[in-house]
């Protein structure tokens, strides 16, 4: 407990805002094309996989909060140092830090890929990356409160995207959902695992937790945020399953964007262009929070200023974004990342909780002696 973070109330956020933080970090680039990845495993029962994955997030979040509650006001990095000691703790911190940077990189890369495929075929990757990075640096150096504010506005301003699902509904038929549960359980579970890349983001609670003012209300708002995400994904999945036919969904990389392809307004003919550009607002809180989480990890180990960390990570991201260029490479990287993320986000918290409980029992025994 020696690592507890001392914070000025001015730097802290209200528990209500956690709803927006959790929801906006989950919804990002994944939602643009998660349908195909899940469909390949679970076929037309993919929506059940979405529900299962949603359920898993609730369970994991529950365990995470349990772990965090054992330490009154500390984040994952501090817990690591307390449970595993300095060396192993810092090693684990490094892994988590790299994970955050990898997540940051993946989101950025995927979004730029979408822009290059749909809107600006001729614009160079480095220019788009640099522009986005500058925007992110500007927001992150403002501190957590600015990032959380960004989450809030990102949620409010993107609410109108939801009703747009009504337009493709005209072309749907429910017969493609039947027979329910035709795929075997293994396929459905595998589909739920494929949701990882889309549904992660809520693990950042590990880092944000000490900054929340009313710790008792954390549970409620986190679970509400997760529920909101699950409902959103479920709606998109159901509409996609009924809108596309089998072969089509297998081929469509960004099913959500292709859904919007059919929407036409008198004043804007190609709605998906607007949606893609607008998507930047959806991924900004994602990117900012991951970068900020990485920074929190760095200052645990090295004494360095926020500005320096942010610039260094941004520069590294910029360089590596030049390495991965083709669709195949991006897909490969996504797969690797999703695989690792599955263990870090869904398996590791259970282990950490067990370790923390053991450690507590062990040390309290020692005190008695």
């Amino acid at each position: 407990m020696k690592n507890a973070i001392q914070l000025n109330p001015k730097d802290m956020i209200n528990a209500v805002l956690l709803f927006f933080v959790i929801h906006t970090t989950q919804v990002g680039v994944g939602i643009q094309g998660f349908q195909r990845i899940v469909y390949q495993d679970a076929k037309h029962d993919a929506w059940i996989s979405v529900l299962l994955a949603g359920l898993a997030t609730h369970i994991i979040a529950f365990i995470m909060i349990k772990t965090l509650e054992m330490y009154s006001s500390d984040d994952l990095y501090g817990i690591h140092q307390d449970v595993f000691g300095k060396w192993i703790g810092n090693f684990l911190n490094c892994i988590y830090l790299i994970y955050c940077i990898a997540a940051f990189f993946t989101i950025l890369k995927n979004y730029i890929e979408v822009i290059q495929t749909w809107v600006f075929q001729n614009v160079n990757t480095w220019l788009l990356t640099a522009t986005l990075l500058l925007l992110i640096i500007y927001a992150v150096t403002g501190g957590l409160r600015v990032i959380v504010g960004l989450s809030f506005f990102s949620f409010i301003f993107s609410l109108w995207l939801f009703p747009m699902l009504i337009y493709p509904l005209e072309f749907t038929g429910n017969s493609s959902l039947f027979p329910i549960l035709e795929s075997n359980m293994a396929g459905i579970l595998k589909g739920a695992q494929s949701m990882t890349f889309t549904i992660i983001g809520f693990e950042l609670l590990n880092v944000v937790y000490p900054f929340v003012k009313e710790k008792k209300k954390v549970k409620k708002h986190v679970h509400l945020g997760l529920l909101m995400t699950t409902i959103t994904y479920l709606c998109f999945m159901l509409v996609s399953l009924t809108y596309f036919s089998e072969g089509q969904l297998n081929k469509t990389i960004w099913a959500t964007l292709s859904l919007f392809n059919i929407i036409k307004f008198p004043f804007i003919e190609r709605f998906e262009y607007l949606a893609i550009c607008f998507w930047m607002l959806l991924i900004l809180p994602n990117l900012c929070l991951y970068l900020w989480a990485a920074y929190r990890g760095v200052i645990r180990m090295v004494n360095i200023s926020l500005n320096k960390v942010v610039w260094i990570i941004a520069f590294l991201t910029f360089l590596s974004s030049q390495v991965i260029q083709t669709r195949t490479e991006i897909n490969k990287f996504n797969d690797y990342f999703a695989h690792v993320a599955f263990y870090i986000v869904f398996v590791y918290p259970i282990f950490l909780y067990a370790m923390a409980v053991l450690k507590k029992k062990f040390s309290s025994k020692k005190e008695h002696v």
């Binding site: 075929q121 640099a130 959902l177 027979p179 036919s245 089509q248 059919i262």
Partner: protein, 374 residues
């Protein structure tokens, strides 16, 4: 102050970014509004593009250019060599397929169109009787912009539910679906007019037959649903109760409009598939070619029964015709797939089963009102 500097840099960069995007000024590009694909010489793809060039001072002019190449995008480069303004496909509204090409298969073209992110999913597709190039290059007296003309004609007819809707999305959907085949309107030139002359039936992207335009009503009835359709039925004397008219003529013609329909399809037998197709229709009676007292509820009931019988007979006939041609445009296969657990249906397997399938048609027809007269 530091923040402000950041903001300035960003703003500056964003402004520069505008210059990086490829400019597409309206006056400097030619908008392709319609593409016609034909089977060219030596199995090449022949593309005819209707290009609209917007001119701020004069009326915009229409150019029709043809090129042949292996692929559709290949023909685009060739077309570009023949025009003064860069050709862009963002305003593409209609794609036509020559009959010969449709019979050979349109799958590759449908794929190429869906792959291109510039092309909208809501463009219309149709088959041309004969060559698409011929239809497009003919100098029509009264049609100025043929691209716009064909688009408006298809759009108007789809909206008034005269023909089935065939947007790129729907065609791609059926093309990649297991239990549903593509149906597309057929258009042709007749003297100075272009008209819809039927419905093309496809099997896995290959045209296998067609139905006359009057039958497209029944096709839509089974495949889709009606919100407000119009339809003329010519009832034969055997359909009608003989007491309805004093001296029964050979045919009784009835015009119905604001038709609302709802279909309910059920699979009742699996081994040799048997379906129960129940369609309930509600419509307004608009015109009769005989004098019948419609104030009498008995007469209305008799008429309803007659129309039901007539429609169900016609539907059975069309289903049998489509079965013979081997095209499941009604989506019976989709129903089969969704009702049979672990059927592992494939396209080939379904088309085998489809030939033997039996469909029991049951129509429930109601006359809602009879206009302002009884």
């Amino acid at each position: 102050m530091k923040k402000f500097r950041f903001f300035l840099i960003m703003l500056f960069l964003l402004v520069i970014l505008i210059g990086c995007a490829e400019q597409k000024l309206l006056e400097r590009v030619g908008l392709v509004t319609l593409l016609g694909y034909d089977l060219g010489s030596e199995n090449l793809l022949s593309t005819t593009a209707v290009i609209r060039q917007v001119n701020p001072e004069f009326q915009s002019n229409i150019e029709i250019i043809n090129a042949e190449n292996e692929t559709s995008k290949g023909t685009r480069t060739k077309i570009n060599r023949k025009v003064s303004k860069k050709v862009v496909p963002g305003q593409l509204r209609v794609t036509l397929f020559g009959q010969e090409l449709a019979e050979k298969g349109i799958g590759q073209n449908v794929d190429a169109l869906s792959r291109d992110s510039v092309i909208s999913g809501s463009l219309f597709m149709a088959v041309v009787e004969g060559q698409a190039e011929e239809l497009l290059t003919y100098k029509y007296e009264n049609i100025e912009d043929i691209g716009q003309h064909i688009f408006k004609m298809l759009e108007q007819n789809i909206e008034s539910e005269q023909i089935i809707s065939t947007t790129l999305h729907e065609v791609a959907h059926d093309y990649h679906s297991i239990g549903e085949d593509i149906a597309m309107p057929i258009i042709k030139r007749e003297e100075e007019l272009i008209l819809i002359s039927g419905v093309a039936l496809l099997n896995q992207g290959k045209m296998v037959g067609k139905l006359p335009p009057d039958d497209s009503f029944y096709l839509k009835l089974v495949r889709d649903r009606f919100e407000a359709g119009t339809f003329e039925a010519s009832l034969k004397s055997e359909d009608i109760d003989s007491s309805l008219m004093k001296d029964p003529p050979k045919e009784l013609s009835v015009v119905l409009d604001t038709i609302k329909s709802k279909k309910n399809l059920k699979l009742v037998k699996q081994s040799t598939p048997e379906f129960d197709l129940h369609i309930s229709m509600k419509a307004r009676l608009l015109e009769l070619n005989e004098e019948i007292d419609l104030g009498d509820p008995k007469n209305i009931a008799k008429l309803e029964k007659g129309i039901s019988k007539f429609i169900s007979k016609e539907i059975s006939r069309i289903i049998a015709e489509c079965q013979e041609m081997g095209s499941d445009v009604f989506g019976f296969g989709e129903k089969y797939r969704s009702s049979v657990r672990n059927s592992e249906l494939t396209n080939e397997k379904w088309h085998e089963l489809y030939k033997e399938a039996k469909v029991n048609v049951n129509i429930d027809f109601t006359i809602l009102r009879t206009g302002t007269l009884d």
